[in-house]
Structures are given as structure tokens and as C-alpha cells.
Symmetry: C2
Subunit: 512 residues, 2 copies
Amino acid sequence: MNGAESLMRTARAAGVEVCFANPGTTEMPLVAALDSVPGMRAILGLFEGVCTGAADGYGRMLGRPALTLLHLGPGFANGIANLHNARRAGSPIVNLIGDQTTWHRDADAPLTSDIESLARPVSAWVHSVESAGELAAAGARAIENAADNQIATLIVPADCQWEEASGPARPAPAPRASEPDAAQVEAIADALRNAQSPALLLGRRGLSKAGLAAAAKVGARAACRTLGETFPARQERGAGILNLERLPYFPEQAAESLQNVDVLVTAGARDPVAFFGYAGVPSRLAAKGCRVLDLAPSAIDLVAALERLADLLPATGEAAPRSDAKRPEVPSGELNPASLGAALAALQPDDAIVVDEGATSGLPYFLSAAGAPPHSYMALTGGAIGQGLPCATGAAIACPDRRVIALQADGSGMYTLQALWTQARENLNVTTVICANRSYRILQVELARAGIAEPGPQALSLTDLRRPELDWTHLARGLGVAAVRVENADDFARELKRSLAEPGPSLIEALL
Amino acid sequence: MNGAESLMRTARAAGVEVCFANPGTTEMPLVAALDSVPGMRAILGLFEGVCTGAADGYGRMLGRPALTLLHLGPGFANGIANLHNARRAGSPIVNLIGDQTTWHRDADAPLTSDIESLARPVSAWVHSVESAGELAAAGARAIENAADNQIATLIVPADCQWEEASGPARPAPAPRASEPDAAQVEAIADALRNAQSPALLLGRRGLSKAGLAAAAKVGARAACRTLGETFPARQERGAGILNLERLPYFPEQAAESLQNVDVLVTAGARDPVAFFGYAGVPSRLAAKGCRVLDLAPSAIDLVAALERLADLLPATGEAAPRSDAKRPEVPSGELNPASLGAALAALQPDDAIVVDEGATSGLPYFLSAAGAPPHSYMALTGGAIGQGLPCATGAAIACPDRRVIALQADGSGMYTLQALWTQARENLNVTTVICANRSYRILQVELARAGIAEPGPQALSLTDLRRPELDWTHLARGLGVAAVRVENADDFARELKRSLAEPGPSLIEALL
């Protein structure tokens, strides 16, 4: 077998099943090798940001890596923005990037560039192989690294793919998460007991059902607020699940929310910082005197640590708080972010996956959906827009039996609209709701926050998406996805109900 | 004035007039500053690859830089692929990238990443400023670097934009190209005189009208073949202009074309190498015994060197060869790359700018257009697909009085289709012809070249753009551009004539 086949066999034997691909000439043997391994599924994206964003969504849902297959430096570069989001989400991904043949690299051919320099900012592990014989073992190391919830990038010169190699390699089994450190959990329990105004901030596995169940006990027993990260990679939500306070986005509001907190326990979340620096606003959001204590560094079993923490706290007799099953009425009348969010929360099916890149139009939905049927909620972790449609695509590949709902701002959606084509090709159960306010609304807010009270015509033109108006129904049809436009809440609810009941992808452009 | 204004005033005073922008929160003061400087035009792209590709097209046409304004690492990353092409084209560009405030960088906020590592592979010059006071001078240095036909990238923390600064700076005047080295030109003239089978390979300024006129004399006087690079950044073509042999794309054919050449003089072109490495095919295309002589290293005035070379060669009395005015008939019947190319060559107006990302569908046009009215021809210099529509957009901004024709493959066009929206907003005179063969045809060829005679279903699925069929008429309409689909040569010619006569953008989807 050649190097490419040894790599694909290595990946498949390690449980990898999907390859999100947009290959080129330097990846041809890897493309051919996809057919040599039963059970490896190739999924084409018409732009690399679709592939990497889909791998992110897939990884968030299944906790194990997909491959991406990308073409040299420029092809990889097109995938960087969504790898940035995936890195912030802690998603496992293995990137395979073809490179010029080993003997041709020094010729500096037109497509040659410094791939490693591009890869490092988004990869925990980067390696460039030098021979076909090394490829299977390098692939195994990439998978080991990805298994640790991070991004591994393997650069593979074309000749290392086509030359003879000796069979697959086996990655070391993923290390089990360590037991919590008893002394540290004890110290945190002590701190909570003695706090005036404690809070628990959850991220990553702390936002799983098990994590939230343990956190609910901690909250009840320590009279402790329970907060969630502003932009969670994946948070379980809905009726019967602890409803977290969401840390606000703007730093003044976030700092105000935390101002009385004297002990902040982070569990899968980082010591929180502002998304951006503003004049006179500190980087850290916790109050100056606040003690910030990390319950479980990354190698530790976070859910076990939360459970142990709950066990160390006195049972109060109070039941741990959980969201009641309570959905909004299906709204009528004007269509705006509030009525759109209420309709979605009112109608979303059991066990939905909601990918929220709704930006300024998304928050009302989040508030409305606390008592909706249990569902998974995924946000824009790294702030690199263009994540929603690809992430929804990957989540739908990962979980074909669940309905995926992409709540998508129009401006951000334009970055990676090609994802709709992949949804059509794979007949994925994705309902896309475009929040069409026809502006970069957040930038209009940020201009004002930057003290630019009356922006001039050049500045205004850069935040305005009219002239011409985008028409998402045509865009979707061009990509093979059925679409409708709605202008009031009644029509939105009707079309949403229809879309949610239909197999395959469809899109609703909601004019706000 | 603040740092942002000092930078914009610096750029404007140096003759910079256009800023291709897709900004975010960390660029707000720069956005506001666009309105503080008369004569600076902001042009919004709905994806960063549109901005950088447009700056490339603008730079190729005018030989002076536009600004791009991009948002942090991920926003810049979305622009890398087209910067890669611009680097290979020798286009002058100044990238401005906002960054987190200086004091907030260490907080590692969600959008923070290593921007310099991303920027270096595509930038000849990268600099990150640390204070507002430094910004104008850094901008001047960026412009000096870009003036040397290269890419300069300036990273600007948000606080350095909004804090007080002291007025603009002035870049040093661009150094004039040096006089040719007399001894070297003499030596090359000698080599040509003594060669059995000499050839002259032109690139960059050698492909300008003046360069080609001088090259024609060299060709006539030295009985020397005149060749052009496979993928020229910009080549003047048409009736009355020297028609170059185009160096073939596939290395076997290119090497065959050069096999008897014993002296190869490069003029603005590199010692030619294969686009990709293939088993048993050398990297260099020139024959083993061939002497390759560079007429003019980059600092030298290339046109002057060509003229001096011509002067040193004996006048033969033969007129320098020039293309006759000769256009194909307007074709009828089947629509295929040949009839499409013939129709375009038959109908293109005087002084057109043709941006060719037609990939496998583009070559027949090139061959047909040698005797068309004089025009500028621009190709995909770096192989990073998704360059055509943005490049056409920038060329139309640069040259509003010329008709721009984008000959665009469907697969590549999907990477940066958002460019059509900018064409509609700015009402640019661009005719886009989509060569819709609904496949990555080149990859089907490359699979076969890689010895994969019967690709399996996974491999086939990665080169096939049906299932579902892309509909470019809907895509264009969704982006505000009028579009039609044609299926035979007669309809294509009719619609092309109409589009070329109409102001503003329009698109023709040509089913091949």
C-alpha cells in the first residue's frame, strides 16, 4: 500500500469516519485512498471554511475528530477562520494538507508557501512528514493529539502519499481524564462555604447534562450563582436542565454582573476576559478583590470534580434548580428578534441542535428557549464569523437523527454560504433561519461605543448591507436548497413548522 | 488627530485612494478616519478574500497600492489566498489589520491570535505598531515597501488607532528603477548571437506594451523565440502587439517546448519550474544543458534593458512581429470552451480587461484572442482559486472606463462569489462569464495523471459539482447582479453582446 492508504487505514482503524474535503492536485493519492478504506466518508465543501467549520460542528457533537483534506497553504488558509473557532471550542480535528513533492519544494512553484507558519496559530500540533514510511505513524500521532480536544495538522508532500509504505499504525489510546485533586476540590468547597457571594462559571464539559446536573447541586448547596460562558462550544439546555445565567457580552455588563462576586469558581471555563479592549474598561471581568479558583485544569475529569464538589457541600434539602418545561406562545404580528426567537423556542422539536450565529438577532432566542425541550446549543466560540452554516452542516453529519437549526445573521452567513450546497448534496436535516437585518448591526453598535456618534458616509457604507439587498432565497436556490422569505411572525411560524417537519435542508429568510 | 487619522492622511497624501474593507470592532477608529480624509474611497467586500483579490486587480492595473482593512487574525486569514496570488503577481498592496488593544493582547481574548505568523508567508514586510505616535511613520514605511511591487502588512492595535498622534508622515519617494547593467546586457546579446536555438521568456513589465515592443525587436534580430509566462499577472495582447508563445501548463509539454532551447533569457520571469512535482518529471523546465540568463533582476528597469538588448543586436531589416487584427467569426451551434472562447474574442470591445480564471475552459479563448483589439489579460498567478471575480472587481475600480470581462470557471468562482455584490454596489462595468462544466475538471485530469484510472465513488464525488447543480443565475440575482443562462453558442453571443453594451455588472452562465 502507498503512504496515503497507510494514513487513511490508520485513521479509520482509530475510529475516524468522516473526511471534510476540498482537495487539489497535491492530494490526489489521499483522495484515491478514501476509496480504499471501507467506512470512510468523503464530504465535499465548495470552500475550505465549510470543511473546517463542519469538522468543528462534528467534533463538538461527537467528541471525536473528523479529518479535513485541504490543498496547500492557500487552501488551508481559507479554512483558518473556522479552525480558530474550533480551537476556542476545544474541538478535536485532524487537518491533512497536501504539499509539493519533497524534491519540488525548493523550486518555489507558484502554489508553494510556508504552510507551517499558517498552521501554527490554529494548531496545537503541526508536523510535516518527509517520507511515505513515516506517514502512518505521523497520522497516529495527529489522532492522539486531536483526541485531547485540540487541532492537529499534518502536512503531507505528494510523493509521501504515493510512494510505498508499510501498513497502518495505531495511535496510543487517549489518556483517561485524571481523578480530581481531592485537596483542591476541598479547598474550593471551603472557599464556597465562606464566600459572601460565590459564583460558578461553567464551560466545556461543565455544560454537558452530567456537568450541569452536578453544577445544579453545587448551586443549591452553596447558595452559589451558576453562570455559563458567553459563547459556549456546546451547552445542553431546556426543560429539566439547569438554566445558567449567561455572562453578558459587553464587558461593562459582564463586570457589573460579577461585581459582587467574591469567589468565582471556573469549571471548564477560563478566568473571564473582555471580548475586546475598550478605553477605561479592564481586560479581566471579575472584580478586583474576587478570588478566581479553577476547579479542574484540562487533564482533570471535570464532571467528576463537580460531583465531588457537590458531595462536599452540605445537602440543604432544597432540590437542585432545573428549568421548567415552559415555552413561549407562538407569536403573531411583527417579525423582530424577539418574535423570531419566541417562535423558534415555541416550535423547536425534541432534541434539536441549535447553532447560533444570530449575532445581535440571536439573544432573544436564547432567553426564550430555557424551557424548550432539551436541546444542544452551540455558539460562535472564537468570534470569527462564518461559522454557523458550516458548523450546522457538520453537526447534521454527526447526528443524522436530530434536527439542526442554524440561527444565522445575514452578514456572517455570507462568509461561508457555500455550506448550503453541502447540506443539499448530503440531504441534511438542517433548517436555516437567516436573520436578515441587512446590516453589520454589531458594528453600528461598536461605532457608537467608539464614540463615533455621527459616522460619515464611508463609515456608514461599511456597515450597511442594502444597496443592493441580499436575497437569500435566490442564494439558497442557487445552492440547491429550497427557501422562502417571510416578513411577519405568523408567516415565519408557519414556514418554520413546515421546514422542521420536512426531511432535508431548507432556508427561511426572515426580514427583520 | 488620532492615530487612525494620521495613518489615513499619510496614505492619502502618498496617493492612495482606495480602501477595500471588511472591518470589525478593532478597526472602528480606522473606519471613522476614512471620512476624515477627502478622496479616500471605502469599498466593502462581504468576505475578506474579495477585498484582497480586488486590491490585487487594482494593483495590477494601476501599479500603485490600495489599502485593505481587515479584522484581526481570522479576518486576515480569509484574505490570505488572494494575497498569495497577489504576491506571485508582484502587486503592490498595503494591508491594515486591527488588533486587540496593546494592554488586552495578553488576555488572550476569543479573537486573539498570532497575526504575524499568518501574515509572514504572504507579506514582504510585516510590522506591528505599539503606539499611536508611531502609526503614521509605520504607514509611510508600509507604503514604501508596497511601492516596490510587494505586500506590506501593518498590524494596528485598536488603542494605537484612537489615541492622540501628531499628523501624517511622508513616505520616501519610490526609488527609480536602476539603469541596466551594460556588461550584463552585452553578455546576453553575445549569448543570443551565438545560440543555436535561443528563447526569451517574458513576465511582469516585460509583458507591458513597451516591453513587448522591445521584445519583438529582440525576437526579430536574434531569430529568437518569444515566450510568455503560463500565468501572467498582466499581459498586453491583441492586434499590433507581439503575440507570445505561452509556456504550457503541464510540465511535460513545457519541457518539450523548451527542449531545444540552448539559451533562455528571462526578462521579468523566473527560471521556469513545474507547477507541481510529478514522478519522473524534473522541477526545472529548461533543458539540462540550457543556459538561463536573467536580463534584469528586480531593481533594474526591465523595459530599458530589453530596449538596450535590441539595440545591441543587428537590425535585420525584418519588421518586428506583431499580431494582425484578426478575430474569429462569431460562432454558432454547440457551446463548448472553443466556441465560447471564439465568441469572446470576436466580440470583446476595444481596450477590454480580461481576467481569466477559466481553468480548463479558458485556454481556447487565449488562443483565439491574439488578434482581438488590444486588451489587458490577467491570469491566476499563484494557483489559489477564487481570484477571478475579486480581481475583476478591483480592475474595474481601477479603470472605470474600460470593460472588464471575467472568464470564470464555476468551481473556482464559488470560492469568492461574494465579489458580485460589490460589483453591484459600485455599479462596475464587469461582464462575468461562468464556464459551467459542473466539475473540478482539472482534478479529473490530475486523478488520471496520478495513475488513478478508475476512481472510486468517494474520489469521484470530490470532483463532481452536480448533485445538486449550481445555479449561477440565482446566485447572481441573490447578490444583486442580473444574470442569464445560455446553452448554445448563438445565445451566448447574443447575451454577451448585450452585456458588453450595458453599463454595470451582469453575468452569463454558459453551460458547457
